[in-house]
């Protein structure tokens, strides 16, 4: 019962944050509602027993990634989003289609799945167990992600650095 109450409360906060992200027109408000979504998702992970995942959700997502987002919003001085009206057909067909799809998927999942249920702390994901798996069975993917992160760092530096040709054309022009 406690599990269901906690799940419902934080699930509601999560969905409210996600909907607020769509409704806000200023990017900084969207970013802050995304922090709410990520924080309440961390609680949902904790309810399932995934302690390590909840911790890195808060540290990596709600911490590092969102700081990066807020930093870029402030760096670029992003203002209120300009509304450009999309095609009317897209709105008339799109919203009912999304709603119908959601209802069908939810109905199918709730009524036709006998996938069982998860108790509170169903699978304790202690850091030691995760590390055991990560450094034995998943050692190669782990090393590959290190290369991926290295490439991402270099790519970010190359892309964000002011290029020489742009500098020169600005000086001449």
């Amino acid at each position: 019962m406690l599990h269901l109450i906690l799940f419902s409360v934080f699930g509601a906060i999560c969905v409210a944050g996600a909907v607020n992200l769509l409704l806000q027109s200023h990017p900084i408000n969207s970013a802050l509602s995304l922090v709410v979504v990520m924080g309440s998702l961390a609680v949902e992970f904790l309810l399932l027993g995934a302690e390590f995942v909840a911790a890195i959700q808060v540290i990596v997502y709600a911490g590092a990634v969102m700081v990066l987002f807020v930093f870029v919003i402030m760096l670029l001085n992003a203002g209120v989003e300009e509304r450009t009206s999309g095609s009317r057909v897209a709105w008339l067909l799109g919203i009912p289609a999304v709603l119908a799809g959601m209802v069908i998927v939810c109905w199918a999942l709730v009524t036709h799945s006998n996938a069982g249920s998860a108790a509170i702390g169903a699978l304790p994901g202690h850091p030691a167990d995760i590390a055991q798996l990560l450094f034995h069975q998943f050692l190669l993917p782990f090393e590959v992600t290190s290369i991926l992160v290295l490439i991402a760092i270099m790519g970010a530096v190359v892309l964000a650095a002011r290029s020489q040709t742009v500098e020169r054309s600005k000086r001449e022009g």
Binding site: F7, C14, A18, L21, L22, P27, A31, L34, V37, M38, L41, E44, F45, L48, A50, V53, I56, Q57, A64, L68, F69, V72, I73, L76, A78, E81, E82, A90, V98, G101, M102, V105, C106, L109, V110, S113, A115, S117, A118, A119, A122, L123, G125, D129, I130, L133, L134, Q137, T145, L148, V149, A152, I153, A156, V157, V158, L159, A160, R162, V166
Partner: protein
């Protein structure tokens, strides 16, 4: 005890919110945030299935998804900065060089 399907429904709602935001938003930073929202929805279903089938590899996969998302955020935001520098706009309707 919470049925697994509730977790999947929550994850589906988050994913759908991400898709809708990706399609209706016009600010490139908000579009990027919608992508993060979709990744978060998928992470929730990974953890839920891990708990259901008692397989810790689901949680390891969430770790990998987070690494990829962090790398993607760094590169994507650098692209946004480069885009803003050349075109002076964040509105994707004005970034239409490749449009017919």
């Amino acid at each position: 005890m919470v049925p697994l399907s509730y977790y999947l429904v929550l994850s589906g709602i988050l994913f759908a919110c991400g898709v809708v935001g990706f399609l209706i938003k016009r600010n490139i930073i908000t579009i990027f945030m919608s992508i993060e929202l979709m990744l978060n929805g998928v992470n929730l279903s990974f953890v839920a299935f891990a708990a259901r089938w008692q397989q810790l590899s689901g949680q390891v996969f969430v770790f990998f998804v987070m690494v990829v998302a962090a790398a993607e955020a760094a590169v994507g935001l650098a692209i946004i900065i480069a885009l803003f520098r050349t075109r002076e706009t964040l509105n994707i309707d004005q970034v239409n060089l490749l449009k017919l």
